[in-house]
């Protein structure tokens, strides 16, 4: 079975030492979440960029290492948390597995099915925990939607529409826009909705995709049609082509009802302020939540490592979502519908 980690904190809970790889925006989100968790502590950050890595390490009061190898050689680590561009996930995960360490990895699991399968296989052989951070499963509005759908309240779901996107994300050396590093909008962004649909409505039958480009050669806006094996049809729209912001929305329509959500509409707090007529207008809009989804997700993964909870996201689920996104790319290339294989 999987080895339990045996550092015990003052509270009597198992405390795990986490090395974070990738001092970018997702790295910051994870580091912030660990600060709120009782049973884990961030002990190191790994980033090949000296300045960025050092600044991050200083900011979070942890040690910086230029490579995972260097980190593991000197630091006692239980969990490796991978927040790098997707293309680097497989090598880092395999390195952690071969050192007998648990891995939490940002989504997508990898950019190819072969790499993802190698990762899953390596984790199994090493007897360690492996979690892929499909965080949408921890967003309360999505969790609640799934609960409503599975309760039968909507009857049989016939049509679903999901939107996700906004302005193009800015990352390390523009990696999000590079198909070889991120898989761009269809693999990096829309994979959230592919995963949510499969989690909620079951396996996908066929997909058909269309992509739009504004200026360059990269697809920045995509429509993916999914025909689920249960007969439901879904449109997933993903975009990095809006001029600003980030929004998500969904609708599920069934024989007994319709369920809708739009992030634009859920701001439960809005503050508008201007001290004097010559000052700029300050607007603050917020949908506050006590424990943010990333924190809940990492807390859950740590609880799974302790054996206290059953994993909500299995690596095979992450592989499946990747397969859907790759089928969408294949559809885009071939101009035909593509069956999703397992």
């Amino acid at each position: 079975m999987e080895p339990e980690v045996n550092n015990v904190s003052k509270e009597g809970e198992v405390e795990v030492n986490v090395a974070l790889v990738g001092a970018g925006s997702m790295g910051r989100v994870h580091a912030d979440a660990y600060r709120h968790l009782q049973d884990a502590q961030l002990v190191a950050v790994v980033d090949s960029d000296v300045q960025r890595g050092q600044a991050f390490a200083d900011g979070w009061g942890v040690a910086w290492y230029p490579s995972l190898r260097a980190c593991l050689a000197t630091k006692a680590v239980d969990v490796v948390d991978i927040c790098t561009p997707t293309a680097f996930h497989p090598a880092l995960a395999l390195e952690a597995f071969s050192a007998g360490l648990h891995v939490i990895c940002e989504k997508p699991i990898a950019l190819t099915v072969e790499e993802a399968m190698r990762m899953i296989d390596a984790a199994r052989r090493a007897g360690v925990h492996f979690y892929v951070a499909h965080v949408v499963r921890f967003f309360p509005e999505y969790e609640e939607a799934r609960r409503q759908i599975q309760s039968g309240r909507l009857g049989q779901v016939g049509t679903a529409r999901l939107l996700r996107g906004g302005a193009a994300p800015q990352g390390w050396q523009g990696w999000y826009a590079d198909p070889a590093l991120s898989g761009t909008v269809i693999t990096d962004l829309m994979i959230h909705d592919f995963d949510f649909l499969a989690w909620t409505l079951g396996p996908v039958g066929r997909v058909f995709a269309k992509g739009a480009r504004r200026h360059g050669a990269a697809v920045e806006h995509a429509f993916v049609s999914l025909r689920m094996q249960n007969g439901a049809m879904a449109l997933v729209e993903g975009t990095w082509a809006y001029p600003e912001g980030f929004r998500t929305a969904f609708e599920f329509a069934g024989t007994l009802g319709v369920l809708q959500y739009a992030s634009d509409g859920d701001a439960s707090l809005k503050i508008v302020r201007r001290s004097s007529p010559s000052d700029p207008l300050v607007t603050h809009v917020e949908s506050p939540i006590d424990v943010n989804p990333y924190q809940r997700e990492l807390q859950h993964f740590l609880a799974c490592m302790r054996g206290a909870e059953a994993p909500r996201v299995k690596p095979e689920d992450a592989l499946y979502a990747l397969r859907v996104s790759l089928a969408a790319w294949e559809s885009l290339r071939r101009g035909e519908p593509v069956e999703v294989t397992t």
């Binding site: 269309k210 975009t239 082509a241 069934g254 519908p337």
Partner: protein, 332 residues
């Protein structure tokens, strides 16, 4: 100036009642005759709108008419529109223009051959929010259009709408044509590829009630469209919607044709309802048609526009049957 004498041929489509009511409120126009094979329905409407009823539309065409509105079952549009065009009467035909491409083509050809106007009832071209966005797009401020995402969701109307021999199809035919027309209008381009998923959510329905179209236009614009009859009859606050997202190279716009509404919380019906207050698009469409009847010229949506929308909707069925995209070609 004598009032324009209008005849309505067929009132099977519920829009016929709307048109009759609107014509009744307009000056310079008279609803001379309502032709419908259903005597009870025909007499009732004729009495209500101070008009006359005739069972046979051919008899109605012998009235001294200036124009005709065809609002019969979809599969009967062709014979009625052709008869009116032969009588040299301008026709406003309910959508979809026809249930087969060859029927729509014959109607357009007849209109062109005789030089008599054939207009398609696409009132959304007269929706003010929709027009405003069209005008905005014309300024170029949104750059070049690259993607469109539309919805025209509604409720299953039942009746002849779900009898394929009369309707020609279900939700996909009924609710694709409006938005395809808007997409063609906005892009100034024709659809060259259609892929569709089509299905039926309620087993008892003999036609499709849900669909998802994926489209490509000649100028490279890609689009998605949802024509499903997916709004719950009892619980939903309105009949449905017409919405469009337009992604341009310089920005994005969203238009909701029925977004101007009050929310009414009505204890007597036990649910919340939308109460629309925006300008009436049907009114604009009828005014446009009457203008053409009076002064000549071209209606906002022609028979050709109706034909092209039908072509796309029917290609969606073909695609769903074949489970592959269908290419459309145009002889120009």
């Amino acid at each position: 100036m004598n009032p324009i004498q209008v005849g309505i041929l067929g009132v099977a489509h519920m829009h016929a009642v709307t048109y009759a009511a609107l014509l009744g409120e307009m000056s310079g126009v008279q609803l001379a005759v309502i032709a419908d094979e259903d005597e009870v329905r025909g007499r009732e409407l004729a009495a209500r709108f101070n008009s006359r009823w005739e069972k046979d539309y051919q008899t109605a065409l012998s009235f001294p008419l200036d124009a005709v509105i065809v609002a019969s079952e979809n599969s009967r549009h062709r014979e009625m529109a052709m008869a009116a065009l032969e009588a040299r009467l301008p026709v406003l035909c309910e959508k979809p223009l026809a249930t087969r491409v060859e029927d729509a083509e014959a109607m357009v050809a007849e209109s062109e051959r005789r030089g008599v106007v054939l207009a398609t009832a696409f009132p959304m071209r007269h929706s003010l929010p929709i027009r405003r966005l069209y005008d905005y797009l014309q300024t170029g401020a949104l750059g070049r259009i690259v993607a469109l995402n539309g919805t025209n969701r509604g409720q299953n109307p039942g009746g002849w709408f779900i009898r394929p021999e009369l309707s020609g199809g279900g939700a996909v035919l009924d609710h694709t044509v409006h938005v395809i027309d808007l997409m063609r209008w906005y892009t100034g381009s024709e659809v060259v590829e259609v892929y569709a998923e089509i299905g039926t959510m309620h087993r008892e329905c003999p036609v499709d009630d849900m669909g998802l179209l994926m489209l490509e236009f000649e100028n490279g614009v890609v689009a998605a469209h949802d024509p499903s009859w997916s709004r719950p009859r009892q619980a939903f606050p309105t009949w449905g919607d017409v919405t469009l997202e337009v992604l341009g190279t310089e920005g994005v716009a969203w238009v909701d044709a029925f977004g101007q509404r009050l929310l009414a919380f009505d204890e007597t019906i036990g649910k919340m309802q939308y109460v629309p207050w925006g300008d009436n698009a049907d009114h604009g469409m009828l005014q446009d048609f009457l203008r053409v009847v009076r002064e000549g010229g071209t209606p906002a949506a022609t028979g050709k526009d109706g034909l092209e929308a039908v072509r796309v909707a029917l290609a969606a069925y073909e695609s769903a049957r074949a489970q592959k995209p269908v290419r459309l070609s145009y002889n120009r």
